[in-house]
C-alpha cells in the first residue's frame, strides 16, 4: 500500500516536472508555433491521478474558448473527467456540482466565475470533496476550495504588441466587462497603444451572443480596422467577419486556428494543467483547498501560440518575445 502511494506520488511529481519542462521558464517556453495544417487536437498525457474528476462548465466542451481550454488541459494531464457543459444557467450548474459531490466524485472543477455563490453553499456540505473553482482570485475562505485565475492581461499585452506591428488601427470585441475578458482586452489595449496603435474596444454585454459579436466586428471592419481580436465563445462571429474581410485575428483562451487557420496570427492559450497538477498533488497529500493560483507567462500557464500558417515578420515575433521576457522580468506592467 505504502509502495503504491509512493509510486503515485512519484508519477505526479514526474508529470509536474514534464509540464514545467514543456512550459516553464524563459521566453522560448512561453511561446510555441504550430506547424501549418497540423492537427490541433491535444494529445492525452499519462494520467497523474487515480482520483475521480468532474467538470462543470458554462459553454460547450468544444467551444474553442474558455471551456475547451480546460478540457484540453485535463487531457494533457491524462484525465478523462465526467463533464456537464453548457450550463450558462447557474442553478443548473449548482445542481450538477451538488450531484457530483453526492456521487462521491473526489475533485469537482467548477469552471466559471459565476458559480462562486453556489460553491459557497455546496462546498461546506462536502468537506471530504475538493472543489476547484475559477476564474477567481480567492477561494472565499473555504478549506476545500482551490481557486485559479489567468493573468490574461499578460498575453493580451503580447498580442497587442504584435497587432501594433500589423496595423495602427485595431478593433476589439469584448463580451462583458468582467473576469479574464476585461483583463485580456485591457492588456491588449495597453500593449497596442504602447507601440503606437489606436484601439477601439466594444463590449457586447453578452458572453454568448454571436449576432452581437458579429455586428460589432463588422462595425469595426467598416471603420477600417486592420486587426481584430476578441474573447469568449461568441467571438466565433467576430472571427467570421475577420475572415470575410481578410483581417488578421488574435485569439485568447484556446487556439483559434480552428476557426480561422489563415488569419489567426497568434493566440494566448490557457494551460490550466500547470496549476491543476499542483492542486492535485496537494489534494493527494490531504490538502483539499485553501489557496488561489495564477496562470502566468512565467509559470507556463499562459502560452503564446503562433500560427505557422501566418507569415509573421521576424521583427514582430522578436518584439513579442522581448515583451514576454520583459513581462516575466517585471519590467513591463500589463495591468
Amino acid at each position: 500500500m505504502k509502495a503504491k502511494r509512493l509510486v503515485k506520488l512519484f508519477a505526479v511529481i514526474f508529470a509536474i516536472a514534464l509540464t514545467a519542462a514543456a512550459c516553464g521558464g524563459g521566453d522560448s517556453t512561453a511561446t510555441s508555433t504550430s506547424e501549418c495544417g497540423s492537427d490541433l487536437a491535444v494529445a492525452k498525457g499519462d494520467s497523474v491521478t487515480d482520483l475521480s474528476v468532474a467538470l462543470v462548465a458554462p459553454s460547450a466542451k468544444d467551444d474553442v474558448a474558455f471551456t475547451q481550454s480546460m478540457v484540453d488541459s485535463l487531457t494533457r494531464l491524462g484525465i478523462e473527467p465526467q463533464i456537464t457543459d453548457g450550463t450558462f444557467v447557474v442553478e443548473e450548474a449548482a445542481a450538477a456540482i451538488r450531484g457530483y459531490a453526492e456521487d462521491g466524485v473526489n475533485i469537482i472543477i467548477a469552471h466559471g466565475t459565476q458559480y462562486g455563490g453556489s460553491l459557497a453553499e455546496i462546498a461546506p456540505d462536502f468537506p471530504e470533496t475538493s472543489f476547484i473553482w475559477g476564474t477567481a482570485s480567492d477561494n472565499q475562505g473555504l478549506d476545500n476550495v482551490f481557486a485559479y485565475f489567468p493573468e490574461a492581461d499578460q498575453g493580451g499585452y503580447v498580442n497587442g504588441v504584435i497587432a501594433a506591428s500589423l496595423s495602427d488601427n485595431i478593433g476589439l470585441v469584448g463580451p462583458v466587462e468582467a473576469g479574464d475578458a476585461v483583463a485580456y482586452i485591457e492588456g491588449f489595449i495597453k500593449g497596442a497603444e504602447a507601440n503606437g496603435a489606436s484601439t477601439s474596444a466594444v463590449y457586447t454585454g453578452s458572453f454568448s451572443d454571436v449576432a452581437l459579436a458579429t455586428t460589432t466586428a463588422q462595425a469595426h471592419a467598416d471603420n477600417g480596422v486592420g486587426v481584430l481580436t476578441g474573447t469568449s465563445q461568441s467571438a466565433v462571429g467576430a472571427v467570421n467577419v475577420a475572415t470575410a474581410n481578410d483581417i488578421p485575428w488574435f485569439g485568447t483562451q484556446s487556439n483559434t486556428e480552428a476557426w480561422s487557420s489563415d488569419l489567426t496570427v497568434a493566440s494566448q492559450v490557457y494551460h490550466w494543467d500547470v496549476v491543476l497538477a499542483d492542486m492535485i498533488t496537494k489534494i493527494e497529500s490531504g490538502t483539499l483547498g485553501g489557496e488561489a493560483m495564477a496562470l502566468t507567462l512565467e509559470n507556463g500557464g499562459l502560452v503564446m501560440e503562433f500560427n505557422g500558417c501566418y507569415d509573421l515578420s521576424a521583427d514582430a515575433k522578436s518584439a513579442a518575445e522581448a515583451a514576454i521576457a520583459d513581462i516575466i522580468a517585471g519590467e513591463i506592467a500589463t495591468k
Binding site: A60, D62, Y203, S208, T215, T216, A219, D222, N223, G237
Partner: protein, 317 residues
C-alpha cells in the same frame, strides 16, 4: 459625434440595422398571424433554434443554402404541427406549452449540435445579390449606385423576401377569406364557429404558417452569421413576440418595430466602436434596445387592444 454623421457611416449603420432586423421580422410576422388567430406561441425562440441548427447543419453537409433554408422551414413546420396539436386539439394552456416548446428547442438543438458538430465550424455565408451564382453580375452595377447602392442592394435574398412578406401578410390578413377567418377566430371564436368557420382548422393553419416562419427566421440567423452555437438566438424569439405587441398586430408596425430595434442596436454598437459612447457606459448602452422596446410597449399597451380571444383555448363544449 461628428464622425458618426458621415454618409458612409450612416449608410453602414442602416445596412447593419436592416440585416439585424430580418430574423426578428420573419419570426414576428409569423407570430402576428398566429396571435391574430388567438394563439400565443412563446416557443418561437426554441423553434428558431431548431430551424437554425437544421439549416446550418444542412449547409455544412451539402453546401446548399437552398437546402438549408428548406430544412429550416420544414423543421419549423414540424414543430408547428406539434404545438398546434397540443394547443388546438388538446386545449393545453398556450403559455406553458410555448415555454415547453422553447425549452425543448433550446436543449435539443444544443444536443444535436454537440453530437453532430461539436466544435463550431463556419459555413459559407448567404450570398448577397451580387454574389448570387449565375445572376450576380446583373446586380453589381446597382451596388455601385452612389449613396444608396450598398444600402438597398447589398443584402441577401432572404432580406428582400422578409420585406416583401410585410405587404403579403397584410394582404393575407385583411383581403382574403382565410385572413378574415383568422381575425374572426382571434376575436370571437364562438361567433366564428356559429357562422361555420372551423376554429380548429383556422388556428391550426395559422400556427403552421407562424412556426414555419419562425423556422425560416432561425435559418436566416444561422446562415447570415454562417455559424451555429449553443443558444444562438440568445432570446431573439422572445423579442420577436414582444415586437408583435409593439406593432399592435399590424405587419407594417411590426416591421417598424423590428427596424427600430435593429437600428438602436446597430447605432449603439457603432457609437461604441467610434468611442462616442465611453467604455464605462457600455453596460448601460447594451440595455438600450431592450429599454426602448419596453418603453414602447408601456406607451402602446394602454392604446392598443389585442385579439380578444388571444391565449384562450376554444372548445365547442
Amino acid at each position: 459625434m461628428s464622425q458618426f454623421f458621415t454618409v458612409s457611416v450612416l449608410l453602414a449603420t442602416l445596412a447593419t440595422a436592416i440585416r439585424f432586423a430580418v430574423p426578428y421580422l420573419l419570426a414576428a410576422l409569423g407570430e402576428t398571424i398566429g396571435q391574430r388567430s388567438g394563439v400565443l406561441n412563446l416557443g418561437v425562440d426554441g423553434i428558431m433554434l431548431l430551424g437554425g441548427f437544421g439549416a446550418y447543419y444542412t449547409v455544412l453537409e451539402t453546401q446548399s443554402h437552398l437546402a438549408g433554408i428548406g430544412v429550416g422551414i420544414a423543421v419549423g413546420l414540424f414543430m408547428g404541427i406539434v404545438y398546434a396539436y397540443v394547443t388546438v386539439f388538446l386545449h393545453a394552456e398556450q403559455g406553458i406549452s410555448g415555454i415547453g416548446i422553447f425549452l425543448f428547442g433550446l436543449g435539443f438543438s444544443d444536443l444535436l449540435f454537440q453530437e453532430l458538430v461539436g466544435t463550431p465550424k463556419p459555413i459559407k455565408p448567404l450570398p448577397t445579390l451580387d454574389k448570387l451564382p449565375g445572376v450576380g453580375g446583373i446586380f453589381e452595377p446597382l451596388i455601385d449606385i452612389p449613396v444608396v447602392g450598398e444600402l438597398l442592394f447589398d443584402h441577401n435574398l432572404l432580406t428582400y423576401f422578409a420585406l416583401l412578406l410585410v405587404p403579403f401578410v397584410t394582404w393575407l390578413l385583411m383581403k382574403t377569406t382565410f385572413g378574415m377567418n383568422v381575425r374572426a377566430v382571434g376575436e370571437n371564436p364562438q361567433a366564428a364557429d356559429s357562422l361555420g368557420v372551423s376554429v380548429a382548422k383556422t388556428r391550426f393553419i395559422a400556427i403552421l404558417i407562424g412556426s414555419s416562419l419562425a423556422g425560416l427566421a432561425g435559418a436566416t440567423l444561422s446562415l447570415q452569421l454562417a455559424i451555429f452555437q449553443h443558444n444562438l438566438t440568445n432570446g431573439l424569439g422572445f423579442i420577436a413576440v414582444a415586437l408583435v405587441y409593439f406593432g399592435a398586430w399590424q405587419p407594417r408596425w411590426v416591421l417598424a418595430g423590428a427596424l427600430l430595434y435593429g437600428l438602436v442596436t446597430a447605432t449603439r454598437i457603432r457609437w461604441q466602436s467610434l468611442d462616442i459612447i465611453p467604455q464605462s457606459a457600455s453596460d448601460i448602452a447594451a440595455m438600450a434596445p431592450a429599454i426602448i422596446t419596453i418603453l414602447a410597449l408601456v406607451l402602446l399597451a394602454s392604446r392598443v387592444r389585442g385579439p380578444a380571444a388571444l391565449t384562450k383555448p376554444f372548445s365547442r363544449h
